[in-house]
């Protein structure tokens, strides 16, 4: 029985480390994890859930602003990118944040095609991260159900 827990903990550890190594997450995510404790076991899941809702909303609004080539509201798009960059930084969503940097540049020069490409990329990246984190949270649940504790994971 202890073996099952140890195995799951190993799996969790390796998976989380791989997410950092592959650049999906950065140090800010580990700061987020430090704020979670036994009294607030859902903290990280709640914050990232709010983040993904934010992504979805902002992507929709920006998509509408970019829709008609003759009438693009770049100010609105810029505002959306700014918010997205901020919240992705706050949760440690590194790839999403990096796309936002390119996105802002396209916005600054009013490059509609570039903006649309970045929008599609942001959409892809947040959905990808959502799947990855869902797998991570599932592993957490399995560990807890098997009577184990969630490992601390140190990243340099």
């Amino acid at each position: 029985m202890n073996n099952v827990v140890a195995q799951l903990q190993r799996q969790f550890h390796d998976y989380l480390v791989s997410l950092y190594q592959q650049g999906f997450l950065d140090n800010q995510f580990s700061e987020l994890r430090k704020l979670q404790d036994d009294g607030t076991p859902d903290f990280v899941a709640e914050v990232v859930s709010l983040f993904f809702e934010d992504c979805s909303k902002l992507i929709n609004t920006m998509s509408r602003s970019l829709e008609r080539p003759e009438n693009v509201d770049f100010k609105q798009v810029d505002s959306g990118v700014h918010q997205l960059k901020g919240s992705s930084s706050s949760v440690g969503a590194r790839r999403v944040k990096n796309v936002c940097i390119s996105f802002k540049e396209c916005c600054d020069v009013q490059n509609r095609e570039g903006c649309i490409r970045c929008l599609q990329q942001v959409d892809y990246e947040y959905k990808m991260l959502k799947t990855k984190l869902q797998d991570l949270f599932n592993l957490e649940q399995q560990i807890l159900q098997a009577g184990g504790t969630i490992p601390q994971v140190d990243i340099n």
Partner: protein
């Protein structure tokens, strides 16, 4: 964003009634991002602060009683030790909020921290800030 420095294992009793609420620092946090609000609220709670979080500078002014006709007075009994605000927010910026707070006789002494991921110093009128300092600290 902020770094978390977890304290060493503290021997904190579960009985929070033993902690007089006057001992807790009360922080007012202002941020339009719901993600950041949730993060800051937790960060401050973990640091043993009492936290009030609002989603705009306007709401912060309402909370302080600095909106409307009493704009330079404010609620005398409200005990706030620190104000943390995002810089760029729709409507009023964090800097504009700072200025309104510094105009209030009740709240001007409260330290205000402006948070931003951008380099905002060029956008802040440092002459205005410096003249506040001169006027209120002699």
């Amino acid at each position: 964003m902020a770094e978390v420095m977890r304290p060493e294992k503290l021997d904190i009793s579960n009985d929070t009634a033993s902690l007089a609420s006057q001992e807790l620092l009360h922080v007012l946090a202002v941020d339009d991002s719901i993600v950041d609000r949730k993060f800051i609220e937790r960060l401050l709670r973990v640091s043993s602060c009492k936290v009030t979080v609002v989603d705009s500078a306007t709401r912060a002014l309402q909370y302080l009683g600095l909106d409307g006709d009493n704009s330079s007075v404010g609620y005398q009994d409200l005990k706030i030790n620190l104000i943390m605000t995002d810089y760029s927010m729709p409507g009023m910026t964090g800097y504009e909020l700072l200025k309104k707070i510094k105009e209030s006789s009740v709240f001007r002494e409260i330290p205000v921290v402006i948070m931003s991921s951008e380099n905002i110093l060029p956008r802040i009128d440092r002459y205005v800030l410096f003249s506040y300092y001169l006027n209120h600290h002699h």
